[in-house]
């Protein structure tokens, strides 16, 4: 594995304790990080210190939950330069007055996370610039993940919600601006995203992504499922563009660390192998639809990428039995061994790998060296690295902005540390860089698959252990809390789980990379032309299933 950049210095627990000092009212350590409990009025103060003095520049996630006697907001902080250096800031508030200070002035990304916390749990944030519902309709009553909410309660949704953009009151007589709804049913939004746009001529003045059109209660579903078997099918449906195994790994990793389960090496190789195939499939889709978005390439590029996806899906189907919703990982390993006859399976995969370089070259001829494509992408949708960090961007989006951050290397898991591969970054900060990163990541993934393939072929037959010994019912310790992330196709996919001693999680929170990445859309597009908005949106490669969960 590449060593990449030098890790930033680790801040020790004592140093943090000293930095927070009197403001810490208690300790509440999580399995992944030390946790400090602070007063709701000290949030900004403490977060500023942690960011500016201790260097925690990445607010990975904000989790909110309700206990019997209090509400709690957790800020999961870490460093772009040293992912394993983590700290959790826990902010309890009373049930009567669930108000705490907003972390938004410190980390821009907290904006949407806190809105979500308000929407689903009901905590209010003082100083928040725009605290309104984010996932549920404005008319929703109650907060569905709060303790006393009746989740079968019927709700009313008004049809008046879709206002006509050309209505008279949307015209502003003073200025020349125009309000435009893009989506939720629009081919360029990659699903059901609604972007409220204000235009001045062709220039974008303001964008406000309106999400929640695919909020399928994934967290509720996971909270209702047992750790052992019932949660695993759901991750497939978060980021559903065939990157299911990468998502399953996020859950597998969290629960395995929580319940202290050691995964056999052979299973780890199969996981690494299959997850990288998923990454290729996912990046292919991103590439194809992006070409479609920016220069209307419905015939060649789009169809070619789908041709290649079919090949990958065939291989994955042989392995897992399904084309998209694999449900192949198990807690402690994988469901079954490689398909028999193994030689045939290896040959099929090898064929794919052998053909890939020529295909990548073809894509480069078709896309990246294409003049029209370059005109559309070079120097549009600029996302500066500092801004990207502020918004908690990860994955190809961050790497296209020169942020050298990849959990496979920085927070090693699976079999990645034993393999030879590189983290790809580009320094253009623009749409073009993001495409280049994805193209090169496909090649890196192929390298990883190649090495796994060799290992699997030579693996001794009597040592093919595919699952660890896991008890039939998993009951992690009461009040164990963990936040674990993996590098999914779109970036850092994290899961926070809290156990209450039963066989189902008391709180299951998903940190989706697309959710954070999409937040940066405004920064990338305001002041640019509207066609660049479409290009930028495409280059973020969002999946609404994961944004809305």
């Amino acid at each position: 594995m590449s060593t990449g950049l030098e890790k930033e210095a680790e801040t020790s627990v004592d140093e943090i304790a000293e930095l927070i000092g009197e403001r810490a009212i208690a300790r509440d350590d999580h399995l992944n990080a030390p946790g400090f409990v602070i007063n709701p009025a000290d949030v900004q103060d403490v977060l500023f210190d942690l960011r500016d003095v201790a260097g925690y520049d990445h607010c990975s996630c904000v989790t909110a939950q309700q206990y019997a006697d209090r509400y709690e907001t957790i800020y999961h902080l870490t460093k772009y330069g040293n992912r394993t250096d983590e700290v959790s800031i826990v902010v309890p508030t009373t049930l009567e007055e669930p108000v705490s200070q907003s972390g938004e002035p410190v980390y821009r990304t907290a904006d949407w996370h806190e809105r979500e916390a308000y929407d689903l749990i009901g905590i209010e944030y003082e100083d928040h610039p725009d605290l309104r519902r984010i996932l549920l309709p404005e008319t929703w009553q109650g907060h569905p993940l709060a303790g006393d909410y009746d989740q079968t309660k019927p709700q009313l949704v008004t049809l008046a919600e879709h206002a006509n953009p050309l209505q008279a009151d949307h015209h502003d007589t003073e200025s020349e601006t125009m309000f435009l709804n893009i989506g939720p049913h629009h081919p360029a939004t990659h699903g059901v995203l609604h972007v409220k746009t204000v235009l001045d001529g062709e220039t974008v003045v303001d964008v406000d992504p309106d999400i929640g059109y695919l909020h399928r209660c994934e967290e509720q579903m996971c909270q209702q499922g047992t750790y052992r078997h019932q949660i695993m099918p759901y991750p497939d449906r978060w980021d559903y563009v065939s990157s299911g195994l990468l998502n399953e790994w996020a859950y597998a990793r969290a629960i395995e660390d929580m319940a202290d389960i050691e995964v056999p090496e052979y299973a780890q190789i199969i996981r690494t192998f299959s997850a990288e195939l998923c990454r290729i499939a996912s990046h292919m889709l991103a590439l194809g639809t992006f070409a479609l978005d920016v220069y209307g390439e419905f015939t060649a590029t789009f169809q070619y990428t789908f041709r290649d996806r079919e090949v990958v899906q065939d291989i994955l189907e042989d392995l897992t039995g399904q084309r998209m919703m694999f449900n192949y990982f198990r807690v402690g390993g994988v469901a079954w061994d490689l398909p028999e006859p193994r030689e045939e399976f290896f040959a099929k995969t090898r064929d794919f790998l052998d053909e890939l370089p020529a295909k990548v070259e073809e894509y480069n001829d078709l896309i990246t060296t294409n003049e029209i494509f370059q005109l559309r992408c070079v120097d549009t949708g600029i996302l500066e690295p500092d801004v990207a960090k502020q918004y908690g961007c990860t994955g190809p989006v961050a790497r296209g902005s020169g942020v050298d951050y990849d959990l496979r290397r920085d927070d090693p898991y699976g079999y990645y540390p034993n393999l030879e591969w590189d983290v790809v970054t580009e320094d253009g900060y623009d749409n073009y860089s993001r495409v280049l990163v994805r193209m090169q990541e496909v090649e890196e993934s192929a390298k990883i698959i190649q090495q796994c393939l060799e290992l699997l072929e030579e693996w001794p037959e009597d040592d093919r252990e595919i699952q660890a010994n896991v008890p039939r019912t998993l009951k992690p310790d009461t009040d164990a809390e963990i936040y674990r992330a993996v590098e999914a196709a779109k970036g850092e996919l994290g899961i926070y789980m809290r156990s209450d001693g039963t066989d189902k999680p008391a709180r299951f929170k998903i940190r989706s990379p697309c959710f954070s990445n999409l937040q940066a859309l405004g920064e990338m597009t305001e002041g640019e032309y509207i066609p660049d908005l479409v290009a930028s949106l495409g280059s973020l490669d969002i999946v609404l299933g994961e944004v809305d969960r």
């Binding site: 008319t139 569905p144 009313l156 008004t158 049913h185 695919l214 399928r216 563009v241």
Partner: protein, 234 residues
Amino acid sequence: MSQDPKQSIQESATPSTDTRDARMGAGVDDRFNSKLREAFGASPFILTKFDEFMNWVRGNSMFMLQFGIACCSIEMIHTYAIKHDLDRFGAGVPRASPRQADVMIVPGTIVSKFGPRMKRVYDQMPEPKFVVGMGSCTISGGPFQEGYNVVKGAEEIIPVDIHVPGCPPRPEALVYGVLKLQERIRHGESSPVVVKPYELERFGDLEKDELVQKLASEIDEDDLVMRYNWADSP
């Protein structure tokens, strides 16, 4: 076409090809000699009911609405794309605008926020229109049936002609579903236009609740609301 044979034969029994020959001139143009043409002989006419003809045409030239919701839409794209190629069955022209579409494939989970939008898109499609529900989510809410925000099936909102089960259905299954729809259309079994399970009510008919109280002054009496209540739905 009459089944009765002609009563008498005059002159030659071979079909007259004068017109055709005149049009083709010398040299035979193969385009005029199709199997169909041979079958029709001299009089290239079919007599049928206009309705039947229209149904036949409709079934064989369907414009699909380009409409992606959730996971199933990825398999739907695969159905349109290379390998499965729905175009082979005369149904591969996705239209971005509902005003140009005949068939709506509903590929995914419908949640409360999206329900009204989907209804609106459906309403914008011109008659006659048909709906294929793709995936378990459009049948019952699928894996998310218990979700607080999930509409339990597309039929709560719009009428569905064909359900394709699966999570997601394979492209082959969707192709089969579309073929079944074509068959139905060809036989004139078009969809019922009455939207039964979808309740449109005047705001005043609903129980007074907290929300209504709060919004009472802002609500336009003519506003329609969608009641989403899965416990009472059929």
